[in-house]
Symmetry: D2
Subunit: 261 residues, 4 copies
């Protein structure tokens, strides 16, 4: 059974900026979904900000194994209730691939808990991504470095918690560096942040970039059935072992079955 | 110069439950602050939920090196604006010690991004904490294990991201285990979660428990001056190296100096 | 194509101890290999200490995707040259599952760099393993806890580097705890340490224990082709960018193509 | 009481290469020790390869809080028995700062367990180190980036286990990147790898580089008394809890008090 992917796109720049519209005439999300659908392991559909519930209804998410996220100028328009829903699904096991300016998406900040800030410069300089671990699933079939002729620069410090693994680091012509490919685990969910993809450059048309996203999606697919009760905090009333010395002071004002939150 | 500690207490159970009031007649926060003030390295004051801004004004936090947090039945009453403020200070470098039921505090969930859920049982069983790394600063001067006669049980799975280090693991009489002492880094801030401390047992009167909290506070003190602009995302307009091949397509609808959020 | 597994067994206790011989009449390694061969994803063969090159010739290792390792009383008899060879293959991407007393195997100490020490007691007490992350591939299809009626005790501190993830923690009847299921990454290789399996108890006959080992093997299988030159340190003579200000002092007593070691 | 530092230097290039001798007339180790002794927190002495026991007798190591290590062309001449001794002291809590070509030192490979390989180029190009976490103790008082006019290049992939934290990343004029400042914990010991310092350039005369090494030494100092029995694996014969169902099969061919190794 193929991995079910939902490619989420903010889909705003494409309608406001002539350069973006020319590079991605059917939207960045469609370009990314098309690239994913070239892989027999994957079946991708799209969802966008302007759809009801941003296209991320409970039904859609329940049928999504991996979600990819590209947003930029409209992060603030994403409904907090949808962020809650996506967070819960990630904790249950749905993979999440956060692309480029998605570093400031509500869902990324929510899952990481840090600033997710960085330095940046938009002059279209050369970027070269280096593989730190050639054995990692996400870089299979890729060369040791990938050069992008023109990209926005992102520089350190990148305000993230220490990643599980730094898979890629970028070199920029202007003199900066960046941890461009980072993995995280949150609950049962695997997360990959991947830096390239400024809207005014044709980055998502580059075969190596597409291959990395395909690999990342396959890597992030859940290992098994969803951890449905991931948010529960059950009262384990019946201990597996005999408790011989209980204390009489356990009070009565209990939190009930779910704990105080 | 001593480490400046603010001991935050929810201070609700102490006024509603006779057992808690008897064990902690001046409040759990006072008991903890007194224990910290026995250490010449530390100077501790308290803050509570019922104070204006929960006692955590900007001035108080700016003068706090390490904040300890105990909350339980009133997590939901903590103002989100104060959570924002505490989060920023942690990212700037303020240490944070989260105690027991603080696992469900807004600030802990905010910084970790996960469920922070666990299983629990309140019958007052025996708990034994084991040291996983006797070389860690937080367990200096402690024996290899500490037995608490009566405590609430917390069991795995504990819904946290993989910690920087698991310093202590608990054994419970009823048959469960728990990662009871876990370190995290978020931004410039060091975080320690420490499990024991149910309100109906005299846990914070136990010398070894007090010693662990003292050590944790000293460990979590910031390394240097606060990282004041931790939330900034500056435009690095002037690259340190010459960019020879800029791209003309860099668009004009800029995010300004702080990036889109 | 199935995952090719080599099950390495020390195969000494089976020939010296009547209890072990009765529980594992064809050897512990055969019991484990049989359990793996029940899984259509896997094809397992065995290798033992007494074979030439301990059964781990270059050809065997080159055709091994995942190696499992059980050793105890004869760790010192394992040839250092074979340890070198296994280490290189792990760094190239071969998975490694280290079982029980393998914590003191040369290959485990070599890959981790720490003491790998622990406390222990051999009276056949009850052990209960708890799942810390129900979403992890290694615990798919398993209950939240597994009880083993009689086992050797291993207790903290366990002298390992901080694992990538602690998947399982054990509770022991005698009062100790242990990080019983730990993952590590070394080079391109994935490593899983799994605690249970003392030779005088029928642990490897328990279905849940077999399922964990099967899952661990599938999890540890390499992502792609072997990283064959993992030990190389090449001179990158031709930089991708022009160097405008070389220094004349670069000396001539070069390390050659592989660096000084 | 000041932190006691031993600065270990291979001290071979200084006697064979005129450039190195001119830059470091009293040896690289003396230059580094002098820089450390400028800090009132530290008191540094030196040790070199050519001394008896390489200057690292048991007495010297027992009185060393932090050891710094620079070696290159003579890694192979370091006695394995001394490597064993240094490893044990690190696990007991002694800090270790590994400099530049020390990435291939026996002690570094021993503690990390991986290839420690990298790519390299020696033309004296420009290097710029970027701070990834401005709140880390090791970069206190430093600017966000440091430029070194001429250095050897080290490039990814760097064959190390995932570090506790990547504190610094380097940009090279020739187009590569490198994780140049990485922290690790092994046993009770803190380890910092710091990339710059090729012998034919005056890197250790640069004030910012000196400051990083001073900070790293202070950061790596042990938290408390040495964990003297770190290699022990004691038989915990007397369990803290009553074992009600021991198994009679526990065999007699015991490993003794230290376990089989």
């Amino acid at each position: 059974m193929p991995i079910r992917v939902t490619v989420w796109g903010e889909n705003v720049h494409e309608h406001k900026n002539a350069t973006v519209a020319r590079i991605y005439p059917t939207g960045m999300h469609t370009c990314i979904a098309d690239a994913l659908n070239q892989d027999a392991r994957l079946v991708a559909r799209t969802a966008t900000l302007d759809q009801p519930e941003h296209g991320l209804t409970k039904e859609v998410l329940d049928q999504t194994d991996v979600l990819t996220w590209w947003g930029h100028c409209a992060h603030g328009k994403v409904d907090d209730a949808i962020v809650d829903r996506v967070q819960e699904r990630v904790l249950q096991g749905m993979g999440l691939i956060v692309l480029h300016s998605g570093h400031f998406a509500k869902i990324f900040k929510r899952l990481l808990g840090t600033s997710c800030a960085l330095t940046w410069r938009e002059v279209g300089e050369r970027e070269r991504l280096w593989v730190c671990n050639p054995g990692h699933p996400i870089v299979q079939g890729l060369p040791r470095s990938i050069t992008i002729p023109n990209e926005e620069m992102y520089g350190e410090p990148f305000g993230i918690p220490n990643p599980d693994e730094v898979v890629l680091v970028s070199w920029f012509e202007g003199g900066e560096v960046f941890r461009s490919g980072c993995t995280f685990t949150r609950g049962a969910g695997k997360i990959f942040y991947f830096r390239p993809g400024h809207e005014t450059y044709p980055t998502y048309h580059i075969p190596e970039i597409q291959q990395i996203i395909r690999n990342a999606v396959a890597w992030a697919a859940p290992a098994g059935a969803a951890w449905r009760d991931v948010l529960n905090a059950p009262n384990a009333k019946n201990p597996p072992e005999t408790i011989r010395t209980p204390d009489p002071n356990a009070h009565g004002e209990s939190a009930g079955g779910g704990g105080f939150r």
